[in-house]
Symmetry: C2
Subunit: 570 residues, 2 copies
């Protein structure tokens, strides 16, 4: 297929690709191998006097900004998707000396898959050996945090969250409105100890599977910058491994803080391997999707054993967080009967079907402690899925939705007993005035475990624009305290997103997340707004483009009506 060939070409020609007039900046921490990648946007000088021919100018300092692109935005990177990214965190994991390299993979499915030569042509060539906690050890960041240990990962995110703002000198850039944070705690400077403490309290997580050392540490919690997740993944009807790896790289470029691989096709295992080895951001999955493939799509045939093997398979590949729909209880399913849109969560529907058919309690709920035990051995974080989320604003905030949320709070307590890092997924479709109660109830019921919402979409009347209808709700709930926003693309409800859709979705959600940071009063968030406003006041057009979330589009729109170079510096 043509799209596939294009993707292959994109990957073959992949080079470190900085944004316009931007450079990679590494802020080094307490050890030489702790280098936090940022992006520095260089600006043009301001004209402060003189005349057209002999202007007197003043230099403008560069603006450091958060960068999710990892090596992909560094001109100095040597990139080869067949080899994967360098294992940034490997030494940190090894130094802790609480894990061991396994002689082989533990999952039966993976063993069979590797033995099957029919998949050789699809396989990633440099498969690392999986690691696991040594017997009796717990290797989660939550476990270390509770033991009072500040890991390099914690220090990394502390530096990263500070946005390099101690480098900024211009007082105008530092002007900021006091925020309204609804009880969030946003210190002037984030210290590694603050990070440790937030993780220890369960208020933040660093999704960091020991088998995904390529990922740059990032933190999800209400007292940090609001994060954005991008969903990618092929389906049985379309797209190839190449296309998904291309979408991964593309997602990181446009600001995805984490990426969920929601593949449902034939080569889920191999696709995921390529994605993880090439991802500088944490990767999440919904393991029930793959488990369902293993039972040929028949939900009733799902078993704990198949699911358990899938968890181990994915944990050893390096998946950083699992969405688990353990809150879809048998007794909650009938609560959706009076809904207009029923159940729309795929994972939730699968589990509801299973529960009703067997008239048994959800096996994810029944085996939740075993799930936690597996997660603790690899530091896979849990993302407790909202299988009962509403599928239309008409069904928002009903008893089914909130009953499940309460159960997710109970499960959070269980996960915390096992020192498993946990976040909670949220809706969905909620009108504006009902968004806040979702946040408040989640904070209360789940003891401030980070909230991770899909939108919410605040009206149903605009298919084709649901990145926007949901971006409004996302901005609001981010302001109220949501820690991570799962993007929605323009194709939501209509079809599968292509590359351009992924970008549109990400820009919409980066806007929402940033607007939330500004409204909460995250220190330093407003610097970029101020720098852009000042560039606008001084007619520094190129700086306006380069400071924007999408320099290419800003420049193209400008050039469409005023294409002359002179118009840009006028």
């Amino acid at each position: 297929r043509e799209v596939r060939a294009e993707a292959q070409q994109y990957l073959d020609n992949l080079k470190g690709h900085p944004f316009p007039n931007s450079e990679k900046l590494y802020l080094t921490g307490s050890r030489d191998d702790l280098r936090v990648g940022m992006r520095e946007i260089h600006l043009a000088p301001s004209v402060i006097g003189g005349d057209k021919d002999n202007p007197i100018t003043r230099d403008n300092e560069s603006i450091p900004v958060y960068d999710t692109a990892g090596p992909y935005s560094d001109a100095a990177s040597e990139l080869d998707v067949r080899k994967g990214l360098p294992p940034l965190r490997r030494d940190w994991v090894l130094e802790r000396d609480d894990t061991e390299e396994l002689p082989g993979v533990s999952s039966h499915f993976t063993q069979q898959r590797l033995a099957d030569g029919g998949f050789d042509h699809l396989r990633f060539d440099h498969l690392p050996k999986p690691r696991r906690a040594k017997p009796g050890n717990n290797v989660s960041q939550l476990h270390y945090a509770r033991a009072g240990i500040v890991t390099p990962e914690m220090e990394y995110v502390a530096i990263r969250e500070n946005l390099g703002r101690d480098r900024v000198r211009n007082e105008i850039l530092k002007k900021a409105h006091p925020g309204q944070n609804f009880g969030a705690n946003l210190p002037e400077a984030i210290t590694p100890e603050f990070v440790r403490d937030e993780i220890a309290r369960g208020r933040a997580i660093i999704p960091a599977n020991i088998n995904h050392p390529e990922a740059e540490p990032m933190i999800i919690g209400r007292n940090f910058l609001v994060k954005v997740n991008a969903n990618i993944g092929n389906s049985s009807v379309s797209s190839s491994i190449e296309e998904e790896v291309e979408k991964l790289v593309w997602s990181c470029r446009w600001g995805a803080d984490t990426v969920m691989d929601l593949s449902t096709g034939r080569h889920i295992h191999e696709t995921r391997e390529w994605i993880i080895r090439n991802s500088p951001v944490p990767i999440g999955t919904v393991p029930i999707y793959q488990a369902l493939e293993k039972v040929n799509g028949v939900a009733e045939d799902l078993t704990w054993e198949v699911f358990r093997d899938t968890l181990i398979e994915q944990a050893e590949q390096g998946v950083d967080y699992f969405t688990i729909h353990a809150g879809v209880l048998l007794r909650y399913v009938p609560m959706t009967a009076n809904r207009v849109v029923g159940m729309v969560s795929r994972g939730g529907s699968i589990m509801a079907k299973w529960c009703l058919f067997h008239h048994k309690e959800n096996f994810l709920y029944e085996h939740f402690e075993e799930i936690c035990q597996i997660c603790a051995q690899y530091d896979v974080s849990l993302s407790l899925g909202d299988g009962m989320r509403p599928g239309g604003i008409v069904d928002a905030n009903d008893r089914a939705q909130f009953a499940e949320l309460e159960t997710l709070g109970e499960l959070t307590k269980v996960a915390w007993q096992y020192d498993v890092q946990t976040i909670i997924e949220g809706p969905g479709h909620v009108p504006m005035h009902l968004v806040k109660i979702n946040m408040e109830k989640q904070l209360a019921d789940c003891m401030e475990a980070p909230f991770y919402t899909l939108g919410p979409q605040i009206t149903d009347v605009a298919p084709g624009y649901d990145h926007f209808t949901s971006g409004i709700g996302a901005a609001m709930i981010g302001w109220y305290g949501c820690a991570m926003l799962c993007y929605v693309t323009p194709k939501e409800h209509l079809g599968l997103p292509d590359k351009q859709d992924v970008k549109e979705g990400l820009i919409a959600y980066k806007i929402a997340a940033h607007a939330a940071d500004v409204a909460k009063g995250h220190p330093g968030a407003q610097i970029r707004d101020n720098a852009l406003s000042l560039a606008r006041f001084e007619f520094r057009w190129d700086d306006q483009f380069n400071l924007s979330l999408d320099p290419e589009t800003a420049k193209a729109y400008h050039d469409a009506t005023l294409p002359q170079e002179s118009a840009k510096v006028a």
Copy 2:
């Protein structure tokens, strides 16, 4: 130019163009010539049993929705832009017998312009004779309302605001969350008397110049549906009359409730004539733009006499509301000195320049009562401009902005003494957490006169996406009580919008306005969401497209990945 030729072709081929599977529906009021145009979306039947070959179905009722497109969305319309639209309101104006047809135009500028054969080729051929209040009469809807008179215009908007929802039978469609309305008063059914009362209190306006009888009455006020304005207008560097008329028709199609003609080029007068004669929605202008053209762009040369003649010129053409920057007082101008972005309102900057140069008080403020007297003779509404609005979130809610707002409140009282309908313009660039105070202060300072805001844009980091950054703020302030949202297009801050940009801006703002209506709990607003959700639940794909704000885009996105007809009914 090519674009111009395309526009000409578009206009030559203009026919009544209903939306897919939609039909024009006219709801008749207390008199035969009071026919309120709505749009009715027909739906496919639901499959409730049987099998694939012999399905048992149940018909679905059609969904009536608000329609701003006037005759342009009626397949039965005979359209000819050279003749203009039928004068829907002419008889109502004549029956009141308080106006007179003038023998000729009163404006000196218009007289000279008409005498100049050089403009003949640009002129609209069927220029109506202007009307004006008979001496001693006040012909504003506010004047009638205060006298206890329910005009046909008031009855028209009452029917229109009810959205035809008494026709809806399906209880599922009528499900609605109780809203959160922050003190708005949203009755279950809007009566003509309620409309009259709201206008009498100054809480709503019907912009309805007696010289623009082609426009369909619509109402702007916090206790009614949130409205959207689209800005069009040529500039000295680009676009023709044809293109602007095309943009007008296009704007009405995509949901503009009013259109502002912000033209600044050479043929402002003629462009406006074509726009008004062909507009089914009220037209607003910023008269200072044209006044400035008349003094060759030199702000210091502006005089009250030139401005006054411009008001009369435009009032007799049929402009429905004037933006007047009468709140930019001499003593407020220095308050902007410490801003990062200074003054960004074009009208505000013109007046500030004039004030500083002459060191005199703003002549719009000094002559405000004469402005009101002119408006009362034609029923031109006033939109009190916010010349001090912030140009970056860093400058939001400063003393300059709020000082002007307080003055606008004083001017509102003056306008009301003359029975002139008045709305208040608002920002601009405001971070999310500072939006609400803008609404609260405006309601308090301006005694609930309708607020009409530009966005507000809630972050400055995304040029190219400012329809979205501002759409978020627009949705929020609409919920809080803003009556009309001035759209922003993706080209904002970068260049002049083309047709596609106008559509993008409008869709974003229709989403914001609708989401606000739902959140406020406007009765009937949620019907369309529910109908779409139900269509989604039942896999009625075509209904999902047709119920959406942009059926073409929804269908195209769907067909891009799942093009088979069968997939749409699966």
